[in-house]
C-alpha cells in the first residue's frame, strides 16, 4: 500500500485530512487487530481504540512517526496490534477474579536452578529467535522464513547450527569429571 498522507496537516487536527486518513487506513488497522481480537465486534472496538490512541493528547503518537525510518502502513500495523493487545490485557485483568487464577500461578516458590554458568554468546539472537519460533510458537519453516524475510534454507541451517552448539555445550556440561590417576 503506497503511503501518501499529509502528516503535517493530520497532526494539526485538520478534520478533512483525518477523515481521509481514516478512510485509507481503517481496513489496514481493522485487519491488523483481527488477529488479536476474539470476534469481529471485538475487532471493531479494538480498531477504534487504535484511532483514539493515534489522535489523543494532540496526536502525540502520530507525531512520533518518522517516514524516513519506516513505512506508515508497517508502523500502523505494529502500533495497532500493540494497542489492541494492551487493551485486551487491560480488559482481561478487569474481568479475571482471583479465584479463577490457578494456585500454581500465584505461588512464589523458587524454580530449581541449574548450577551451570550460561555462556553469554552461546546462541546468536537470530538462532534464539528461530528456535523460539520452532519449539515455542510451533511455526513451520515457510512461516518463519516469511516472518523474518529470509530464505527457508537459511532457517534450516540456522536451526541446525544452533542445535549443534546446544548439543556440544550440554554434552560438555553433562560429562562426568575426569579422575586424576597420577601418583
Amino acid at each position: 500500500m503506497a503511503d501518501a498522507v499529509d502528516l503535517a496537516a493530520l497532526v494539526r487536527g485538520d478534520k478533512a485530512v483525518w477523515a481521509a486518513f481514516v478512510r485509507r487506513y481503517a481496513g489496514l488497522i481493522f485487519s491488523a487487530v483481527r488477529g488479536v481480537a476474539r470476534d469481529p465486534g471485538d475487532a471493531e472496538d479494538l480498531a477504534q481504540e487504535v484511532f483514539l490512541r493515534l489522535c489523543k493528547d494532540d496526536f502525540r503518537l502520530l507525531k512520533t512517526y518518522d517516514s524516513t525510518r519506516a513505512g506508515l502502513s508497517t508502523w500502523l500495523t505494529i502500533v495497532a496490534r500493540s494497542t489492541a493487545r494492551d487493551a485486551r490485557r487491560r480488559h482481561q485483568l478487569k474481568l479475571t477474579p482471583l479465584d479463577a487464577v490457578p494456585e500454581a500461578a500465584l505461588s512464589v516458590t523458587d524454580m530449581p536452578r541449574e548450577q551451570i554458568k550460561l555462556p553469554d554468546e552461546l546462541l546468536s539472537p537470530r538462532q534464539k529467535l528461530v528456535l523460539t519460533m520452532i519449539y515455542e510458537k510451533e511455526m513451520e519453516v515457510a512461516e518463519i522464513a516469511a516472518a523474518l524475510g529470509i530464505d527457508p534454507q537459511t532457517v534450516r541451517s540456522t536451526h541446525h547450527k544452533a542445535m549443534l552448539k546446544l548439543r556440544s555445550h550440554f554434552a560438555l556440561e553433562d560429562a562426568p569429571p575426569k579422575l586424576d590417576r597420577r601418583g
Binding site: 489522535c55 508497517t74 505494529i78 548439543r167
Partner: protein
Amino acid sequence: MPGPGDEAGEAALWARWRALAAAWGAGRVPEPDALLLAAYAEGRLDEAAAASVEDWLAEEPERIADVAAARAAISAPPAVAPEGLVARAAALVGPVDPQIVPFRYPTQRAAGWRSVAAWGGLAASILATSLIGFALGNDAYVTLAGGSAGESAVQDLFEPPGSGILPTMEEDSSL
C-alpha cells in the same frame, strides 16, 4: 529440521537452555519502539540493530506475529473496514456530528481559555469578598467605638476623612 526421532530431544535441549537462561536472568532486552520494529519488518536495520530486535523477539515470542503481520501488510491489498468503524473513527477529530457518536471523545484542545476564565473569576470573587468583608468589619468597629454613622468604611475607602469633598458632621449641623 529435526526428524521425528530427534525432535523431542532437540525440543528438550532448547527447553533446558531456556530454563537456564531464565534462571540466570538472561534476556532482559529493552523493548524496541514501534518505529524500530517496523524498520526491522521492512529489513531496513543494520546487522547490530536487527540482532538487538531479534534478541528481544526471542524473549517475547507473542510479538513475532506483529512483525509477520507488518511484513505482510507491505504487499497485502487494502482490506475493507466496517462502515460504522470508519464513521466513528472519523468523528474523533473536529466538530462532532450529532448523527455519529464516537466511543469516546478525544481530549479537548480548546480547554485552555476556559481554565484561564475560571481561575480569573475565582480570583475576582475572592477580591470582592475581601473588600466587602473589610468594609463591613470597619463599619462595625466605628459603630462600637462610638463614631458617627457618617464615617463609614465604605466612605473612607473612596473619600478618606478630611478630603473635604463631603461635609463632616460638624459642618453639616452648622448649615
